[in-house]
Symmetry: D2
Subunit: 309 residues, 4 copies
């Protein structure tokens, strides 16, 4: 299983978690959302990530989300299991794997600073989830405040055979991809998959630096699929042309705090989810912001008909 994820290429969509307007989990809506991602041509799903509002779910709700998604698709599914204690992480990871997940994703807690602290944390996490569970390192300093140098990532990969993937969303991060690929090329680091997040803000160049693909939740997963494919096929200009058409919206969606509100608003507008409600503490869009997104969609539709909603 580790090998499968370690060689993953393409796009893993970070799935939103659909709620009803009253805040209840929209379990049935997960089916529709999952179908949508599959129809977009993604290669896998990641559920219960930061953007999936995982910390706001009760344990049984998390299980329901996992069960629903895994029951709906045969694509590999990665489950975010970051938790403040290893007991909860252990349980969620075990349940996920028992239900058929392809692996789990672990974000470092934001108080970690030194390399030793980070390495110790991942060692404890691997002990907690079990050495047989493939896991993804989430490297997201902007949201998590933890700085993992390329050497630290390499050490985690080398220390733990079950480390299969890096969710790369350092910022700036292009040279980091180059460095990690150089480690792999020289043989000092076992090959793992590098999927890029950070709202896809640099996906155009990330693919050129050697990334394996994307793992983010942009409301047009089709764009991620297209850019990854075009870059793979060596069609650089075409990849950038399409990416640039989406960049104004990508940029708007990547704003901390309100990004998820933009994403859910667009997904709802596209008819994929029934409500754009977030659990509290959440964010929402003002009327002006919604009008700005509408304007961006209208402009985008001139280049990409899929945005004509």
């Amino acid at each position: 299983m580790t090998n499968q994820l370690a060689s993953a290429r393409g796009v893993f969509a970070i799935a939103a978690t659909p709620f009803r307007d009253d805040g209840r989990l929209d379990t049935a809506g997960i089916d529709r959302l999952t179908d949508f991602y599959v129809a977009c041509g993604v290669d896998g799903l990641t559920i219960l990530g930061i953007m999936g509002e995982a910390p706001k779910l009760e344990p049984e709700e998390s299980l329901a989300v996992i069960r629903q998604a895994l029951g709906r698709t045969r694509l590999p599914v990665i489950v975010g299991v970051s938790a403040s204690g290893f007991a909860a992480m252990h349980r969620l990871a075990r349940e996920s794997m028992d239900l058929g997940a392809a692996g789990v994703m672990i974000a470092p807690p934001s108080h970690l600073r030194s390399d030793d602290q980070i390495l110790a944390y991942y060692a404890q996490a691997v002990e907690a989830i079990g050495m047989d569970v493939p896991f993804v390192i989430q490297d997201y300093p902007l949201a998590l405040s933890v700085i993992m140098s390329p050497r630290v990532i390499r050490t985690i990969v080398q220390n733990h055979a079950s480390c299969a993937m890096v969710k790369h969303e350092d910022w700036p991060g292009l040279d980091k991809i180059t460095q990690l690929k150089a480690f792999m090329a020289e043989g000092s680091m076992r090959p793992v998959s590098i999927l890029c997040g950070n709202g896809a803000l640099f996906l155009d160049f990330e693919m050129e630096r050697g990334a394996s693909g994307a793992m983010t939740g942009y409301a047009f997963p089709e764009l991620l699929v297209d850019v990854v494919r075009l870059q793979r096929d060596g069609r650089r200009d075409a990849a950038h042309d399409l990416f640039d058409a989406h960049l104004p919206l990508i940029r708007y969606e990547q704003q901390p705090g309100i990004g998820l509100a933009v994403r859910k608003y667009v997904l709802k507008k596209r008819g994929i989810i029934a409500s754009d409600a977030q659990r509290k503490p959440g964010s929402s869009l003002t009327g002006t912001s919604r009008a700005e997104v509408d304007y961006l969609l209208a402009r985008l539709a001139r280049h990409d008909k899929r945005a004509a909603i």
Copy 2:
């Protein structure tokens, strides 16, 4: 119920959570620990706080802890309900109150910065737990990285009738107590209880500044009870004499990261808990550190026979 907590004076012990050596919850041990606190003369208990390793418990374990403690004592019990989502906070608060808790304690999440963010968070939290549930503001910048000015605390108290208490552990914090008491004296802030934490490092002077008492987990709760009583009785020198005898150990126990290990080590040595195990991620004492604590206990025993273990 609010009024009861709002006028609370004395000592609320922050209860450790006893585990077995293998990490399982020592439910029966909670009875022994609760009896110990009661025998020390405390006026209440606080369970599932930071020092109670609350984030490392599964939801059903948290419930077990609450049920066990509330079933063992008629003293008022405050339950820490800080959580990353309001759904979990709501449930834990409701269950706690249904089981007979006197109130709940809410720590601000560490990403909060501006006054508006802090006020909005407590407003959402109150909405989540219900306006009828008495709650305690935990003001602990050293651990939580959130700075609450006296005016912000006052606004929370004034905005929410269910706010009953401040767990004061700002550092430095003596002038903050003075300021809060001045607000109460001038009538601009409703009277609430101010119980002091921060390992009791400044309890001697905090009482002189007008604090209502202590809420911390020092391994000799008797000392807290004595100092609070002596200061209340106006026996300033006696209070300081006793406090100073304990200060070398208090100082040693208040170290971030390893403080809980010191506390559990002493509690075990005193025969109160069967194991000093912590759930991961936890801390432990080296042999040298244990020897240092032993030395401090031996020195303390010359002044306070209760330390002769």
Copy 3:
């Protein structure tokens, strides 16, 4: 003088500080750079900001930069005077004003958290520079880690008649502009100028929200001038068309850490500065990064001939 800045509209270019390859200040190069900004049609200059590498200059070098820039243009010049002590801030502000500066810019030190701390800091700063010196609040949480709510900004403006401008670079920040403009509209906040920074990443919409203009250092100040003018003239689509053509490069330049290296690389390539050297600690571009910027410039040149270098 306050009134002049408080009603400023248009573009203030954040000036880079040119060094020679050996790290010495390129004083003569300041003339050429100043001439360039003026030729771009900017309405003012800001020197010795974060992007001007101000903390890396010796005091006499800072003076030399101020003297050179003020001797070269009659446009209003704002001088960054942020310093770790008020003695240095006082001196730099006084010298700047004596030499003819239009005002000074003050960034809050990154340890400030609560509203009270921020307000106290600006009160002390105003006392240090003198109540007659027009000043700009720099609101840049991404770089400075200080969160200033709209109400805090309003209080600073109301408390200090010499506050003339907000350099707005909160992120996300569109609704903040709307809020500040609403305060001004309802009369609860004195009108001040709002110039937007953050690398111009949201300049398209910031103008629509009511911003007075831009204050940032994008390597094509002409773009800032054009977008601000087009939005003022009500030519929304044209503004976005031009902005979107630049967005891929704007996005690349806005990366923390290496943004200044991109900016200096482009300015050198455009023939405006002789060297793209930064003082240490600084950043530099790898060959791959330079090639990426070249590629972005080539793509941009299809839409904007000024990028055909």
Copy 4:
């Protein structure tokens, strides 16, 4: 010179910087203060540290402080040269050494996180000050927010022959001393001096862990000298007895933010400095706080006549 500092033992007093009530530097007062430290039996001085309000001084004032102190004593003097740019650090280090300093102290800037960032910073700093200038690593996470693991400190020591000393003030930090001493014992780390700061809050045990002495600014440097000497002479109980008598005041003085105000208040009360004024932004003591310090001094005087002021 490196060797001299690398083998330093005993007490280096962190010198306060005396100002007049109006904020001007009290140059003559430096002589009196220096004489006092020498009379206390210290083995060296450290000037222009955090507690010396270095960032609030103009460059020529810093030079005046250095000149005055070095002109008054033949003891080794370490000069704090931490600065936001390497140009300023270079100049201050060079001037200090030219005037006869024994070495310089460098604190890491607070944005550093990963080991690589820390190592790169010290490499750049050594390049800036020159490989011939002995330097001290300041390891003070509580104030600086930078976490340096023992391995990182070892790497800095091994990478730079001019690294002579660690100012140890991690908290908790006892096991860190043990680890560093173990590195030295096993030969993996060149022997350097370890002098302990953090207000002396753990000096009693730090000496037992193998520290070389103290480097802090407690207002009774005699206590530091005595404790270090007693511990060296193997008189453990006597060391603790004396230390414990001072601990209530040490604890009071170590409070972040107001610690320097306490220190200057006591030094003034002892007749060592003429004014307890701090440059802005500074802290001051309320009347209640001064009375608390007076009370602590009176209590201390029962055990240590030097506190009878």
